[in-house]
């Protein structure tokens, strides 16, 4: 289940690579992420109903097989549309597997309550771990390997479930008819959607900032964003000490918002400054996702259907977050790029280097900007070779650093509005959290 839910975010760090290799736009590549989450949101509840009808063992086995097959197609995709279609099919299989898993878990772990807690924890850990794992695979192997590696994992997970599926087929022990499922927990699911939108934005925007804004490699970005899952894992035992699910949900939403606001107000383009906000977001997401999932499932039956609603809410939130924020930050990137170029031009014009060198540098920087086609360029090579005269060399080095600083300022500031809006989404989740009744699990 963790693999399927990690898949919601696992491609985040691969997006810049996919963007370059498939020669698409930022908005286009966002659909690699959006399509999976959209289909998960739409298919989760019907998949849960299907699992109740055909049996969770069979639904999970078929779901995992579809997930694996579509993963293979994703890995082999040579165009954006093929990749997006394969991602949609992958989400269909994933929805079946995840919702059926919630029906299968109580028999394995002993109780529905424990099953719900494990299921919720796996979801939170999967979502947090996804980007780091995806980044490592992208850098060490390729973006295709992210999907290809899922094939054996999904097939291996299907093997023990096959026995259950065979048993269901042989005995016909499945739900004879759909019993009343009760209404889904509106407030918990609404809060889940809002918080998931904020968390998706945090992961997506931070990765874009590191790779596209600060020009880091996917592996370096993966190491940086691994702080978030590490913090989430460290905080996962807090539920033992604080049994009050509403308090954990509220604290989690506040921490996620606080972390996002921290990222919106970064005072410098330095990786170290992203770490404290990431810790807050990691701890927050662990608290809020598990608390809200437990609340949505608590005292409700059957678990698969209500689990389906939580999956649907979470992924709908991710879709809303991505679709709402993508146009905002792409517009901000264009504006900040223009401002940074203006500020850089002012730095060149006012610098003490000789006028002829300025003109040469300006022409080289122009060429570099055109080569980078709208991305934030690294200006170092433009200034090579540095002048041999020590005074002139010092002036050119200072000019280079000041120019790069202006570009870094623009790249960082371009994400501020989106991070702030995401923080607001997290804060708004406090309203439904406050309205959610306390549930004793």
């Amino acid at each position: 289940m963790g693999v399927v839910l990690a898949d919601s975010s696992i491609v985040v760090l691969a997006l810049p690579e996919i963007y370059r290799e498939l020669d698409t736009s930022v908005a286009g590549v966002t659909w690699v992420l959006v399509s999976f989450n959209l289909v998960m949101a739409l298919a989760a509840v019907p998949a849960a109903l299907l699992a109740r009808r055909v049996g969770p063992g069979r639904a999970a086995a078929v779901g995992l097989a579809i997930f694996a097959g579509a993963g293979l197609a994703c890995g082999a995709a040579d165009g954006l549309s093929t990749l997006i279609v394969a991602r949609c099919v992958q989400a269909l299989g994933g929805a079946a597997a995840v919702t059926a898993a919630l029906e299968l878990l109580p028999a394995t772990v002993g109780s529905e309550r424990r099953a719900a807690a494990i299921w919720a924890g796996a979801g939170a850990t999967g979502a947090a771990l996804g980007p780091a794992v995806g980044g490592l695979l992208t850098e060490l192997v390729s973006w295709q390997s992210i999907f290809l590696l899922q094939v054996p994992i999904a097939l291996a997970a299907a093997v023990p479930i096959l026995a259950v599926a065979r048993h269901e087929a042989a005995t016909g022990i499945i739900e004879p008819e759909l019993r009343s499922t009760g209404r889904p927990h509106l407030w918990a699911n609404l809060a889940l959607a809002m918080v998931s939108a904020a968390i998706a934005a945090a992961l997506f925007l931070l990765v874009l900032l590191l790779i596209e804004g600060w020009r880091m490699s996917p592996i370096a970005a993966a190491i940086v964003v691994s702080v978030m899952p590490l913090a989430a894992i460290a905080a996962s035992r807090l539920d033992v000490h604080v049994p009050d699910a509403r308090a954990r949900a509220a604290a989690g939403a506040i921490l996620v918002s606080g972390g996002l606001a921290g990222l919106a107000f970064l005072p410098k383009a330095t990786v170290a400054l992203t770490l404290p906000p990431q810790v807050l977001i990691g701890v927050g997401l662990s608290l809020v996702l598990s608390a809200l999932t437990e609340t949505a499932l608590g005292g409700r039956a059957p678990q698969a259907i209500h689990g389906g609603w939580t999956i649907s809410s979470r992924h709908a939130g991710v879709v809303i977050g991505l679709l709402a924020l993508t146009p905002i930050f792409t517009a901000e990137i264009a504006e900040q790029r223009h401002d940074a170029i203006d500020a850089g031009t002012a730095v060149i014009l006012d610098s003490p280097v000789s006028p002829l060198l300025k003109i040469d540098l300006a022409a080289r920087i122009n060429t570099r900007l055109e080569e980078e086609r709208g991305k934030v360029p690294t200006l170092g090579p433009v200034f090579e070779p540095l002048p041999t005269d020590p005074t002139e060399r010092a002036e050119v080095v200072q000019l280079r650093d000041e120019l790069q600083d202006q570009l870094d300022r623009g790249a960082t500031h371009a994400f501020s509005t989106s991070f702030l809006l995401a923080a607001l989404l997290g804060l708004f989740a406090l309203a439904p959290i406050g309205l959610a009744r306390r549930v004793d699990l």
């Binding site: 604080v242 509403r246 921490l255 606080g258 005072p267 400054l273 940074a340 203006d342």
Partner: protein, 172 residues
Amino acid sequence: MSGRGPLLVIGAIVASMVLVGSYLAAGGSSYEPEQVKDPCEPRQWTDPQGLQELAQQFSLSALDGAACQLGVSRETLARALATPQARERFTERFGITDAKLAKAIRAGLIRAVDDAEEAGALSPLIGIPLRETLQRIPLDQAIEIINETREFLANVESFLGPAGTILEELLP
């Protein structure tokens, strides 16, 4: 909420406020590209060391004056004048004809003389005839200045003719 719940919520609020407060205190709300100056505002002239520096100050003032006239930033105009292709893109984007651009450049050159005089870098004895020359400079020559910035800076003396020689002598 009961037990440790309120403590957890208070802890979350405090942690968030400390983080955001410290980032704001460190300048997080103003970490953005520096805003470019209004070209219509007078710009401080530094003490030019040699003719090339004077020419540079003069060019910057001229850029300011022309940009002010066209209603764009000095930086945008400077990039537009870097290559003929960039100039073409600029005139298309802002709907500016070559004649209007040349007129603005001429106005900018005259403002540069004014600024130089005001800064004490140019004597009125030079400023008055130079201004007269620039006022009469044909439009196509003004465009040529735009296209030949490199040559202008490299051969400022020959470009300015006798005025350049006098300027050289007047400089400290």
